[in-house]
Amino acid sequence: MGEFVTVAGMDEIEAGEMRAFDVRGIEVAVANVDGAFHAFDDTCTHAGCSLAGGDLEESTVICPCHGSEFDVRSGEVLQGPAREDLATYETRVEGGSLKVEG
């Protein structure tokens, strides 16, 4: 388990929204699903598009380029063309800050 890196204030990502951050050289997206933060690789496993630029529907992120769908909680592919799951990362809220495992 890596250290936790502060990426934003806990109020900066509203419910139903996503944002991407550089966490020690890796683009990591954080989604707010009903107040719970889920962090995952921002880079789609299919063709490398930024998932934070797509839509978040409940706990599903949809790639803006080719429509692959992933469960943000587990990183699991729900719909192709992607075949590989996303890596996911632990998140933590401490003292008003949102932290992601780095």
Binding site: G53, G54, D55, C63, P64, C65, G67, P81
Partner: protein, 410 residues
Amino acid sequence: MPETFVIVGAGLAGGTAATTLRQNGFDGRVILIGAERYPPYERPPLSKEYLRGESSFEKALLQPPGFYGENGIELHSEVRATRIDIQEKAVELESGEYVAYDKLLFAAGVKNRHVPTPGSDLDGVYDLRTVADCEHIRREISPGRKAVVVGMGFIGSEVAASLRLSGVEVTAVDRNKVPLRRVLGEEVGRVIEGMHRDHGTELVFEDTVATFEGAGRIEGVTTKAGRRLECDFVVVALGVEPATEPLTGTGVKIDNGVVVDEYCRTDVEGIYAAGDVANHYHPVFGRHIRVEHWQNALKHGQAAARSMLGDGRPYQEIPWFWSDQYEHNLQYAGFHRDWDELVVRGSMEKRSFVAFYRKDERVLAAVAFDRGRDLRRSVPLIKAQERFEAARLRDPDVDLRTLVAETDKA
């Protein structure tokens, strides 16, 4: 006796149908017949990342090669079906053998259109449909070589972009005024044209290739207008036609492909069609449409399998596809032939927009240039078949997701 379902065509639609039959508990025989050497695979990478040598073929396979055997799917590769005998309920193979069926899914796809042109049989003149075709072209690619691309539809445009990205000097020839004119119209076509020119692709419009020339191997082409273009190789991309031959004379209705209803059924009991070859009735558009794209092959294949199992639902997926060219992502959703107004949100000049093809104020289709999120949010507008104000469609401050809900309330 267990039932036997035979699928003619082991592309994405056929492969997905076979998979869906098993996933839905079908325990009869599933026979999947394909003309190519490989198990079902996806074709989009063949004009893009696979052509550029950036991805492996394994990544394009629909299922791992062992999947078919493990799931009791009898996959016959490199086998061509030549005729369907609807009286005997059997598929005749090139070898003269017959394969009997209880139900048949025809998913033979499309074949490339060939325009008879002197010299088209010279070495170094290619077209692109299969992974084998793609590998031939790959061997020609190296920086500084010269290529002519004939036809600037989606395949031609993507191939031109991939070749340029690989350092090839590209000249593309198309008989229209702009690339992709037939599907996207002139206004959007101009944007695509600008993108290709900015990447150094030479474009020749309102002209066609009259002859391919060379001594055994291609050395250049001469166009109808008399231009001489020297080249090391050629890729011809003049569109496709449905591969319906095995059904000729059977009584199965053929009209721009195999005509099926919204349940993938032909007018002959027990024969279904899906994917690129199927001209299917679409309840949203109120007409038959034939769609030659990845998503349709996948979803239509699934729909046909469910229909064969007696669990069919009307197929009303909104057609959608993407086309990656250079660093740009184009997407289109819907279906339109003619329109009376193109409403643009964003900037065509900056190449960041979604444009709506409207007829009688209804959105028939949308195309997006590096605006995938907006495109996805436009699909409900197409499904709704309602009138939307042009000003609201145009206004970047209006969330497209709220428009359908607004008209519901009104």
